[in-house]
Subunit: 277 residues, 6 copies
């Protein structure tokens, strides 16, 4: 992922947050002319994500710092692997270290969990998708990490897709009317997705011509029945309480998409550290 | 926590991220005049944090939305408890729901984990502290969540405290010189903290007059020995691989502070949902 | 349209642009205590758009100014109609007048031209859509003006829809491959639109399963043939050199969507003025 | 025009508006390593303006894109002329194309219309000036386009010049008092301009010592009489309903300045396209 | 001075600068429910400026704080006078105190020095004007303070007035040519000011038709001679090394304007304190 | 001082403030191709500070301008010394001159006054420290200037140190309780400083275990007595009405720190000018 204007803004905010008015310890102890080099090392196995971001952290901090990736985003690292190296003015490296690691560890955590879930659905047609349950301010990066782990992105935000939920249905007076209103009023380039809670609603959504139907919090048997009833007339998306225990079974029901909030709302960081030489 | 300029900026960024150019589904389906009300309900036990933030999300989105907290930040909620209620224009409530929940679930996750760790150190003098391993852009909120859970805040950022680490020591040519340089060059209002990796370094730090010594990644026996050697000459902080399995044992060694990166870098959200009436 | 965070930012930028360090004439001549009132009057016929924006201009400038709309966005005004009234401190009204009018005149110009084109396609199934040929920085308002005039919004930006163009086709090695790559890599919530330049390409796009096909710069006969060939398998969008001379004929070919860049790139303002009492 | 801090901010806003979270079509279809080149071609005659802006769009997006102007701002292009060429990573070129064209077409539209009006006043002493009827957020560029077309800039904003209008006159209790208040209270570096609606007011303004008098919406005979009465005591500016039909006649009356809102509020874009090789 | 968008931005920057992530002392010691009230008291004589700014500091920090001015900007306060009172939540008052005072003391310092210089020129026609030698970021406030003290504002910035200096003259090849270029190329609403270093240059500037001539660093005799030579053909401005020792003599030479950089570049704050009850 | 994200933002704000929409004089008179060079010359003796800032002003304005420092921040310049030279496009140099000088003169003024005070305390153990009485928006630079002049920085802002003042003491119900509350609630990395007004309070603060005690506005005799009583149990800081007349006497009392608001709130600029060749 090439750092663009959005990404640079996020990184600058993070740097200002962590450096504040200046790194007082380093300023007091480390001479301006002191140079350093070091290596980013994975301390446990994981799918790495955020190498480009980490590099950009140092570049925005001090363009004279050189950052060299040793692997690419999406590759697996084993404990002990060197994933990147950095060299240049010691003060800049020390000041940027924590921000670079905070991005790298969190994004790698997301990519790793996604990759795990994706591998558990091998042999089915189900793709793994994220949700809007992301960390405020970091969605663009977290959705990138999901892609890096092999997942797909659900709509980016409320402007980036149509999803008719319970409350929209009630406001419109039924699934049919809600779909109709959307077709009439919303931009034509979006598929129409409807969230349903039972098989009757599924039938209504199919009749209304929904392009995608989200099966919310259904048990395995019901999902299976839903797949049968839909018969390919709409894409089916399973959602709700998706985790490593349940995902394989959900995937084998024949749904097209499985969306999992946990990919981004409950992230265990991959442990990575910067070892200076 | 009263939402101030910093907090409002974070919330505005989150709202723009999630709403983008507008909620196309709601615009297409829900009339502008439609009103709604609902309740935020805990779906599992936890220490709640972020009620004020959630309320501010709606206020910034539409000042005519009313948000009423039912419990205060820091209180425990059980599954099923109503933690707040909201009422007003349906469109605004639907558009703000996800952002409010994203803050509330994450901050409650941090407060809950902190509270658990704090309770495990009851009867010892150890306080639980956070680190700089926070989510980029959210540190001010995440450190607030740690306080809400009963923890203490370590330095906010590189400008907010002195911590002499390995690399500073090498750059200065020893612990004694590094402490001396800090005392000479850094502002006088900060305590001087030194990170040490073994008992020899601890001795050096004590001789140098460090105010706080961070014992990095030491085993229980070494920590015990460190407490003995220090004899109250400096505050001692245990750090590295602190989790629920190990924290009690660490606390009983007699250290003053236990800092745990996992409080913020690996957060399991508390499940909370908005149920519209 | 309720002014939200995006809109407020645009208005604040416009106010700072026009007021700079302060209205030196008004400061020199008009006492702070001077009050005024006035009416916004249409000086020619048109569909009015931007009343809410104009009101927000004054509210952001001075909350004590009262602004009362007399008609709603989307209604037609005739020359001489009062469309809104304003009263309060004279200095604020004088300072905000030009900014309010600049928004109101331009947005009404867009809404009016859209309404004209929409009325010319009455009795056909074609909807009128905008493009990305908008004024930099004002897209959210200009697309709103198109909706106000009865048009539909094409994708908001490059992240808000899939449109496979000539260069994408060449990069992918054919329409089939480009559609396939999109289906595999892009988020599932978007329809896939392909821009074609001739009927052979149309056939390819239909075979590839495109949801929407944009017919770029085709003559009327070719468009008619395209409608016949497509036979409802995809939505068809006519694009290129759409203006009032040609639109009716294009609409009667049976296409589903007609997109017109001129709606926003070549706008004749509706003449509106503020008459102080 | 060298892109400065103001211009870069406008361009960044435009890029973020058009690219959003990323160009999903290009990301799905075009490999990161794909290179491209192309030429910007005028599809109709016009005075080109915005070449430097278009180049900066690409530079800010991706510094590795090379942009080469073939003509300079202010030169005339004929249909078919190549006005610039661009080469580099295909993804960046495709993502920046629309923003570059939106600036280029609009600014060239303004420069072209200005040049037309200027040429119609050849042989008179009248200069053509713009107004504050510009597109919100783009004034600095639109006024530059007017200069590029051979026009002059009226005051940039309310802080950039003194213009005593009807309402100021009433608030002050007459033209004489308004001019006097301005001379007393406003900074000394500005000329004092007064807007008048009839010849009596002109006389008052001349007596009061106005440096410039704006003749608002007067017919040709009245303007001629005004020129005679003023006899060089003040600069005279004709304003109101200035278009190509009327401008020559107005210029021949002997006024010094003709200001035309239509230069910026009603712009027909010059058609320019990017043809990739 | 009514706080507008520009002013609010300056105040918000100042509050964020001084409060950072929060007032840790007050948070630790003062209960949220604690209320306080206090009075701003002049501790020495001076012309007060910034009362409205100080009030806005508290309003932006916490709208529930009440701030009541006791005197108006521009009035003289004697040591001991109460200039404003404040009441509300103690935490907010303590957190805003320093920022409010920093504005108030500095602006009052500027207004007081201006008032002193103005009073020293009583009986002459000379007005006192400021320069661009202001504190970066605070110009709009500092120029307001000069007006509050009875001075006039020279051009706000490089876009707000024409001043032909030595280097412009050399680039143009003489004063005559520089004035001519300006008349031809610059907007017509500005007076043309020329800076001259001797009487020969003054003659050239007068011949060229300069509206204002700045006499740079001339001694009293030369200024007198300049006034005689100009004979009212242009306004004359004396500039350079203007302070309280010299200003009276300069004023009595008959110049129209005296500009003094020291008004803003070398400010002695007026001592003001907040006494809590 | 290396210009970082914070500094660049301050410089950009200053440039936009001073240049506005563009330097109209230079644009009218100086050809774009005109080159220039010049030297920054001290016109009086002083400690120079801000050379790096001045260079960055030009770099941000036009990267093709070359700026060469002749001395380093912290060195003394005598009247007539060349402190830096600059060369490149004349337009950029003329446009950046005033902003560069405004920073340079003010920061050198602060550094010079600090150096004077520091030299007056030679032979004592007292260090000179700044306060929060800085110019709004420039604190990071002004505190840097104090360091450049040989002073120390007191806390950066309310989040950067603990200082228990009168009002905190009253809110807590005594010095002991306030210190206790701070120890319990505030982050552990800060020393606890208490401001006292008399010797009784000093005793209380010492008993409470304060790390630093600020002696507010005490006369020399009382300060001497305080030093005796404290006997090294806490650092002592003298504050209030510190100026060149009194500082030596205060320093010889044996206090550790002397803090002087005047260092930043009442600054006499060092006169520096740019002489073009």
């Amino acid at each position: 992922m090439k750092p663009d204007l959005n990404i640079n803004k996020i990184i600058r905010t993070a740097l200002q947050e962590d450096i504040g008015q200046g790194d007082i310890t380093t300023q007091a102890v480390v001479p301006d002319t002191s140079m350093a080099s070091g290596r980013f090392i994975a301390k446990e196995n994981g799918v790495i994500c955020g190498i480009g971001i980490a590099g950009q952290v140092f570049r925005l901090l001090d363009p004279s710092i050189e950052f060299t990736p040793h692997i690419e985003d999406g590759q697996k690292a084993c404990a002990g692997d060197v994933i990147a190296s950095v060299s240049g003015p010691a003060a800049g490296i020390l000041s940027g270290e924590r921000v670079a690691l905070n991005f790298l560890q969190r994004l790698s955590g997301i990519a790793s969990r996604t990759a795990t879930m994706v591998s558990m659905t091998q042999g089915t047609k189900a793709v793994i998708a994220d949700t809007r349950k992301t960390t405020p301010g970091l969605r663009i990066l977290e959705k990138y990490a999901v892609r890096t782990g092999g997942g797909k992105n659900h709509r980016f935000n409320l402007a980036g897709g149509i999803l008719i939920k319970d409350n929209h249905i009630r406001a419109a007076g039924g699934i049919g009317r809600a779909v109709e209103a959307t077709r009439k009023n919303a931009p034509p380039g979006f598929k129409i997705e409807v969230e349903v809670e039972n098989l009757n609603q599924l039938d209504e959504a199919l009749v209304a011509g929904a392009d995608i139907v989200m099966l919310d919090n259904m048990d395995i048997e019901t999902i299976k029945e839903a797949v049968k009833r839909a018969g390919g007339r709409a894409l089916l998306e399973a959602s709700g309480k998706i985790d490593e225990k349940r995902i394989k079974e959900v995937a084998t029901t024949g749904v097209d998409i499985i969306s999992a909030g946990a990919l981004t709302h409950s992230v265990i960081s991959v442990d990575i550290s910067l070892r200076l030489d």
